[in-house]
Symmetry: C2
Subunit: 680 residues, 2 copies
């Protein structure tokens, strides 16, 4: 058991800065522990001693009876380091620093924060915060927080569920939790981590994922510094949805002309979450909607959705959304449609979306039979039931039928119920009880279904093997790099560096009478722009071209002229989360259309093909207007080879293969550059 | 006053098919009129006469005391035509046919529907439906519906508001209305139109827009057949949001290789709504969220948003969303930021998003002062306040301050409040009362702000003048069409049709020694694919090229070789909603990237420039990698000239200018085709 689990297993909590003063932040944790019946020892710490809300107060944790499992620190920032020292001395393993006044205030605060963390780390104390609102472990009623959520007149039910909520923002974390509770969600944990000075929100998420009773995780993050925590979170097998702010910086950073720069942090995070099977929520609603979907243990085996509706309009909306969310509207098997048309009245629809009409809902046996036929169809991975105005009686009938097929088929069933709760006061609870997540609109039900598929998609556990090629010791020139690429098995144009006009002419003749000439000058990146590349040089013009390019002061590379194809860019750069492979549409379109997709390395089987499929311009590869289709398998091999090539490289670097031309047979790297990142 | 307003002004309602039988649909309208205290005359119609729920029943509307303002028909489909005849004979002007069994069931039902509509139209009777759930006019308690919404134990408040809800889907319409009512919205009208056989949902929306007490409209539509109703709706000045299903057919239809085909119906609708200042909602939530935003009379003068938050996390999320929604995060004026940094503590932020921190919220005067400074900044068009867990006390303070600046500045203020209602049971009502729409997440508040800007954007009332050029009598060949384009003032390549090899050579010399040769063969569209175009023909090759292209059996066109530029496609085609102008990225990228934007014609000033701005690939026009920037003003003139050229054209046609090359100076139409649509 990691010490972090003391956040929810603590059998004693010290509140450093406790006070009885009404309205003071230091009163609240003591009051909440008391109000919510914390079964462990409550230890208010206050220099004045005495009693606080009836509990014996101690001047310091050192004077309080041990062992102390968890400290909640809510003194002013300048007094925090001393409190941390005391915690270390008292043998405390975890402390939450709720106090503000640290890195969020500027340099001075950042120094204080660094100092505080250093002292804690030296003493074996893990810190949550500072600048957070604390944590609540519902199971053991560990109320280490001053969130106003627990001071409201309405008592919050602490009956624990399997959902863990972790948020860097304290207000958003408890705010989202309160909205979830209002829907009937039962969180088991709400933990806010503020400045993430020592323990990060991701680390807490990973720790919660290892709790057997945790069935799903929701997180709000402002930064994702730690790919290993992300990986271990993903590998826990627990469904996770994250809301990450700071998306809009993406635009501002996507400026430079190479794919490395295109793959900004936010794009990398998107790629990583997609790879790791983690849902990226776009909004609080979407985060909580995913949480509702996670509660049921049923998972889809594929992305194919059947829609069953009593309202034609809802069914059409849901069908639109299925397409928009990248799920599939299964056409259903012929026999399914035949069977349905026996059951459903003529004014309904036996095609997907299946409109059983309101008439059928009033006859539970017909509804049962329709659903049974649909659930038995093996082209159906998930069922979404779409209803509108429903009374409690309607809900009861629908729930019985839906729960039965969900249970029997093991397929997830989600519900869209566009109608006010006052029409059916028990509907939410009934649906929740039956393991049927419900949403107020088709769009939200479908988005939740997409989240469920995202966390259920099979992920390759193996990764593609590396080539064992070592990190280049220095930046490579184009010919050096191309030689390395060729040795790794990539295809580059035939040609070589020449030392004289006559040798240049000889190479032109060797490669077919017309060639490309390039000046090889370290540091000269945009060669075309300065006239350092000459395309289509004939044997007769070879000498003049050699002389002209020699004037750039470097070597001259002469290469075959490669035939027409689709130009792409392949890049690898090192990001905060590790090396990232990016594939983008080539030429000036890369910048203009920003059409690129990324993966954290290493690649798993299938990743490279999926990347090709994610390009908006992928139809270019299919051939258009009489052009031959491009050799996609060779492109996939190229991507996998690039990934394997750099798999052992260390330190920061950029590798830009630009352009890479996909021919009707084969893929060639026409130009390539290698940059070693300067230490920041 | 149009007869349609009898739907909500009726002083007498006949229910044809009324019965006292429990559970029967024919009982509900009578029961609802009674339960909700309809002040007019209730006239149950039943062949058996007698009394129904205490009201005298009549065998037919002809025997009931007149005048009858509105009939609600709920008999089986086969008996509907006779009921309609009776209504006509009784001088009734509007009838709602709730009965199913018409066009939605197949050909037979469609014939019955057509027959019913024909009889009604001949008799001067307007029909709503069939296959709908009826209508409710809240102001006069006209409960012409059998929606279960009104049979629930909870009595729905009929206190009328200014919001009109019109839906083709009955279940979705009343379902959405119930969700709105649950939030505290007060609709004035809920009208469902089913099959839209006679009166369309759009026509009802337009009629409601003319009601002085209507302050906003929400609609769910499955088809939009009538651009004039859409225009009159848009010109009413009332804010409108529409949810239109059937988006996913877009993909299936966007297949053909010309821009006309790219502009599918859904894309055209998108374009029309954008032009007309109507919000297109993506979901029920979004529709209702727009409705909440419409309630306040304050409108933004521009798209610049200031975010004020007590929770850093919410502020960052809102900033992301402002960018994603196409609004602007104003940087605020220097003096505003200076003034704010005097007010806000050091751990807050005086930049936008302005983080006043929870500390400031507890001091209302500081909050007041911050807001006043922000609202006074003329770079701020709208303010979004983002809060989390709030108690009623917090809400009261925030509302006082927010309402004050909204009132004083006239700027819209929207609220994101991420916290459960049980924490602040009065919050919704307090905020609504103060004219501050509130939403559970930053994303939804920002999306509502974007909706508010969409309905407030200035729209040009004038349209660009036409050229008075008549519809071509027959399909034009490329040279004929280019002559027409040139006469309209568009720029086409210098050149002409030649009749001999020597004439061809003469033109090559005239245009500078190198030319483009094209075979002119009616019906030959993809000329490049079959070798009917030769680019870069020299004077020496002219004769051979002439001979080769003559072999296609038509004339030969010789034209100057036009310099490099950005290739686009400009097309006009006639759609359900009228002629549509489309601008797309050219070449094979049109298909592969589907980068195109459309406008219904006629254009207003500013439309053409806006279209250019909407291309994803617009950066191509800015010049990249040393290319010269393209002449955007000449492209805008070209678009406006094309629109003016076809302004008087009648009948169905397609005009495809493909490619259009935008040079560093000027824009030339390199190829053009004209097709007259066959009658369907």
């Amino acid at each position: 058991m990691s010490e972090l689990s003391l956040l929810w297993n603590a059998e004693s909590v010290a509140v450093i800065g406790a006070t009885e003063r009404e309205g003071a932040l230091g009163r609240k944790p003591v009051a909440y522990l008391q109000r919510y019946g914390y079964p462990g020892r409550i230890l208010p710490i206050n220099p004045k001693g005495g009693t606080i809300l009836g509990y014996q107060a101690y001047p310091s944790v050192l004077e309080a009876p041990g062992p102390i499992d968890l400290a909640f620190i809510v003194v002013s920032a300048d007094r925090v380091p001393a409190a941390v020292d005391d915690c270390v001395a008292a043998g405390i393993k975890v402390a939450i620093i709720a106090s503000s006044g640290f890195a969020e205030t500027g340099d001075e605060g950042a120094a204080l924060q660094a100092e505080t963390v250093a002292r804690a780390r030296a003493g074996g104390l893990r810190l949550i915060g500072p600048n957070c609102i604390g944590a609540v472990g519902f199971g053991n009623k560990v109320m280490a927080t001053f969130s106003p959520l627990f001071s409201a007149e309405a008592v919050v039910s602490l009956e624990p569920g399997g959902l863990g909520i972790v948020s860097q923002s304290g207000a958003l974390g408890f705010g989202a939790a309160s909205l979830g509770i209002e829907r009937g969600q039962r969180p088991g944990w709400v933990i806010t981590t503020g400045n993430d000075a020592d323990v990060s929100a991701l680390e807490v998420l990973a720790e919660l994922a290892s709790e057997p009773s945790c069935t799903g995780l929701l997180g709000y993050l402002e930064n994702v510094p730690d790919v290993s925590a992300l990986r271990s979170l993903a590998n826990s097998g627990k469904p996770v949805a994250l809301l990450k702010s700071g998306r809009s910086e993406e635009g501002g950073r996507a400026a430079a002309s190479h794919t490395g720069a295109l793959a900004t942090d936010d794009r990398v995070l998107d790629a990583a979450l997609r790879q790791f099977g983690i849902v990226r929520a776009g909004d609080i609603d979407e985060l909580l909607d995913a949480g509702d979907a996670f509660v049921s243990p049923r998972r889809p085996a594929g992305p194919r959705v059947a829609i069953v509706t009593t309202s034609g309009g809802s069914g059409i909306l849901a069908a639109d959304d299925v397409v928009a969310q990248g799920l599939e509207l299964t056409p259903l098997k012929d026999e399914t449609r035949a069977a349905l048309s026996e059951i459903i009245p003529s004014f309904g629809s036996a095609d997907n979306p299946v409109d059983i009409t309101a008439a059928v809902l009033s006859d539970p046996s017909l509804f049962d039979r329709s659903l049974e036929v649909i659930a038995a169809d093996e082209t159906v991975d998930m069922i979404i039931g779409c209803f509108c105005v429903m009374t409690d009686g309607d809900v009861d009938k629908a729930v019985r039928a839906l729960a039965k097929v969900a249970e029997k088929s093991g397929k997830p069933v989600l519900v869209s119920r566009t109608g006010a709760d006052f029409l059916a006061p028990n509907a939410r609870a009934t649906l929740r009880e039956a393991g049927l997540p419900d949403y107020p609109s088709p769009a939200r039900a479908v988005r939740a279904a997409a989240a469920l598929w995202q966390v259920s998609k099979p992920r390759a556990s193996e990764v593609l093997a590396g080539l064992g090629i070592e990190t280049p010791a220095a930046e490579l020139t184009e010919p050096e790099l191309k030689a390395l690429l060729a040795s790794a098995g990539l295809s580059v144009p035939v040609g070589r560096v020449v030392g004289s006009a006559s040798e240049a002419k000889a190479v032109v003749d060797e490669v077919g009478g017309t060639a490309v000439f390039k000046a090889v000058v370290p540091g000269l990146v945009h060669k075309t722009d300065v006239g350092a590349v000459k395309v289509g040089v004939s044997s007769a013009d070879a000498a003049a071209a050699f002389d002209e390019l020699s004037a750039f002061g470097g070597a001259v590379l002469v290469e075959e002229l490669v035939g027409e194809g689709v130009e792409l860019i392949i890049g690898v750069h090192t990001s905060d989360l590790g090396p990232v492979l990016t594939l983008g549409l080539g030429g000036i379109f890369t910048e203009a259309l920003d059409d690129a997709t990324s993966r954290l390395l290493p690649l798993a089987p299938g990743d490279a093909l999926a990347m090709v499929g994610e390009l908006r311009g992928k139809a270019l590869l299919d051939g258009a207007r009489g052009r031959a289709a491009a050799d996609v398998p060779s492109l996939v091999r190229t991507l996998e080879t690039v990934a394997a090539l750099v798999s052992g490289w260390e330190g920061g670097f950029e590798l830009d293969l630009n352009p890479v031309r996909v021919l009707s047979s084969g893929t060639k790297v026409l130009d390539a550059a290698h940059v070693i990142a300067k230490e920041a």
